[in-house]
Amino acid sequence: MITPLHPALPPPTSDILRFTTAGSVDDGKSTLIGRLLHDSHAVTDDQLAAVKRITAQRGEENLNLSLLTDGLRAEREQGITIDVAYRYFATARRKFIIADTPGHIQYTRNMVTGASTADLAIVLVDARKGISEQTRRHSLIASLLRIPHLVLCINKMDLVAWSEQRFADLVGEFSAFASRLDIADLKFIPISALHGDNVVTASARMPWHEGGTLLYHLETVYHGGTHNHIDARFPVQTVIRPNNDLHHDFRGLAGRIASGVFKPGDRVVVFPSGLETQIKTIQGPAGEVAEAFAPMSVVVTLSDDLDVSRGDMLAKPNNRPTQSQDIEAMICWLGEKPLQPEGNYLLRHTTRETRCRIQTVRYKMDLSTLHKKDGDLVIGPNDIGRIELRTATPLLFDPYRSNRGTGSFILIDEFTHATVGAGMIL
């Protein structure tokens, strides 16, 4: 039993770091997550007892920590991870939400799902095998989804004799590749998830590494969240009209601030009507607030009685979203059937839903080389490409690279209702 270094009590004032983990099948991802959960007290005795019982039933020798993360019967039977699972642990400094995503190439869409809400991505590399196609693919997705922090964990250092040279070579090789990506903060940590080196406790066997442990990095990495606090955008989610004697004139616009800051008294423009008015009050869950910023859920009242409904957006007169029916985007395909050129889909963006038609497939990306695939424009499951589409009603958007909230959309199959595409507006 490993003694926890941190009390399990997450103070109510701490913040949340959402991170995703990726790696090829045998890179030790489950072991790493198992260790983080275990060492931070997030694995309870009854869970551990269940894992021990099943491990013994199967006649396996080592405690199979992947049983902690593979929740579905089919996953445990087949020994693979099918779907994103969410895990929670906390230390004295932070609460953590892990989106644990499968490593197989055919589950790229799950990685995209996990990455869409992540502040940080951990990509695992087997020190013996080196940088693989999967490493490049996962790093590209992290970059495309604009995850600000990427941590490359060089795992299984025990199997390369804790070699500083091997670590330095891999850092060099990956850095050369990463220079072509858009990653704000890149960190390398040599670890052994199996033995615990540099995961929670500093490794005595790699004294040459001065960059700290993985957990220390997770606890201390600066993140102002992935929210943009400059461009004020408030997509209206629903209108609250109490219709009772006490509040019969009350008409509040409920929604979540997508980005920027709003204050009572601010001049605002209502889109798409373009009418200007002033914010009268802003109410949060505990009553009136003096300012609201992402990702707060609030109710806004306006000085003028304007026609505003779901799908509309409030912004500031001197900082407006782009308004257009013609959209250029990177698309990650999630559906089983390939994207239909000239096909119609439902598009959901902020709180707005509209029909759209695919106009052009510009190119498909080769995820291992970052190059365009010549002569292949079929966007199938797990493919990423660049498309142009036209919407039935204009979208109010910003580029994804500056605003995750107003730059992202999903495509829905009109007939099966399945979510088939994840789009990032250029």
């Binding site: 009390p7 399990a8 009590l9 997450p10 109510p12 701490s14 913040d15 949340i16 309870t44 005795d45 009854d46 869970q47 993360t69 929740g71 579905l72 019967r73 089919a74 445990r76 099918i82 779907d83 699972a85 969410y86 895990r87 929670y88 609460k95 939400i97 799950n110 995209v112 869409s116 809400t117 102002g224 606090h229 989610q237 629903t238 609250i240 109490p242 219709n243 009772n244 006490l246 509040h247 409920a254 979540r256 109410q283 869950p285 910023f293 992402a294 990702p295 707060m296 859920s297 779901r310 959901r348 963006h349 995750r404 992202s408 999903i410 829905i412 209702h417 399945a418 979510t419 994840a422």
Partner: protein
């Protein structure tokens, strides 16, 4: 820049309110599944906040197995009286009488699984298209795979292998007629978050959650409350013990923990250092390694 920061409990609160409002915006006939337990009590508080100063835009639904703790039912009725919320109660007893389900027999009999039929009948009868529940991903390994918006087919079944990817804050509530969704606004909350929120909001709870003396039966390591619904196995004895419950379900399958935690602060301290999982004392989950997954597939809460 750094002043634009929400503490983690506030982040969870804002997220849950967003999900609740999105439910009302995307569905015609939502309902909130209210058990009288701590999670649905938190859920109700969030729902009231999400739509204030308007009234709750959906009714509460309680599936009563007939084997509930009397404390839970008293608490439920008190909450309804205080909040003025609409409550729809459906009885498992009625499903049994109507021949829709057959009661389990034997000493381990429980009505826990029968609730699914009563629930799905209630959903169909009232034509609910979205049922909001207080389940959390940290509770159990099958629940860790849940979406915020979780699709159910026309038979009320969950297909965990073919779930819709859920990206950013974009929830897809599209469905065919007869299908419905389960909505889980507390997905990202842990047991400790729920307790911190109860303390912050000063929410009342059934007295079961706090230490009290009770007649208990130890069955295979699970401490069950002695009640008219529990048939004793040969050799089992009834002992009075100081206990509290970490989850509140049927009297026949909800295990207690020996505890002296009688106040909110003491419960929070206890939960923070506990080495047992919250549902570790649920006899309904311990029936097999995938018991909860199997019940969820069939349409359970």
């Amino acid at each position: 820049m750094s002043s634009y920061h929400l503490p983690h409990l506030a982040q969870l609160e804002h997220e849950a309110i967003f999900v609740l409002r999105e439910t009302v915006a995307q569905f015609d006939r939502p309902a909130l599944l209210f058990s009288g337990g701590k999670d649905s009590t938190v859920l109700l508080q969030l729902a009231r906040k999400a739509f204030q100063p308007a009234a709750l835009p959906f009714p509460l639904v309680h599936v009563d197995t007939g084997h509930n703790f009397p404390e839970t039912l008293a608490f439920r009725d008190r909450v309804i009286a205080e909040t003025g919320a609409r409550l729809i109660v459906r009885q498992v007893e009625d499903s049994i009488k109507a021949g829709r389900v057959t009661e389990e027999s034997g000493a381990n009999a429980s009505r826990n699984a029968l609730q699914t039929v009563t629930l799905l009948d209630a959903i169909q009868e009232s034509r609910f298209d979205a049922c909001i529940g207080g389940a959390r991903r940290d509770e159990e390994k099958a629940r860790a795979k849940e979406r915020f918006f979780s699709h159910r087919d026309e038979f009320g079944q969950w297909n965990p292998k073919n779930q819709r990817p859920e990206l950013w804050n974009l929830f897809n509530g599209r469905k065919a007629p007869g299908e419905h969704f389960r909505i889980f606004p507390l997905s990202n909350w842990t047991e400790l978050d729920v307790w911190h929120y109860i303390a912050q909001e000063r929410l009342a709870l059934p007295s079961l959650y706090f230490s009290h003396e009770r007649a208990m039966v130890n069955r295979h390591g699970v401490l069950l409350a002695h009640s008219p619904y529990l048939t004793l196995h040969p050799g089992e004895t009834i002992d009075r013990q100081r206990v509290r419950f970490r989850t509140v379900g049927d009297m026949t399958c909800t295990g207690a923990t020996v505890s002296t935690a009688a106040t909110l602060d003491e419960v929070i301290q206890e939960v923070a250092v506990s080495r047992m999982g919250e549902r570790g004392g649920r006899a309904d989950d311990l029936r097999s390694d995938s018991a909860l997954e199997d019940r969820k597939r069939a349409g359970y809460f």
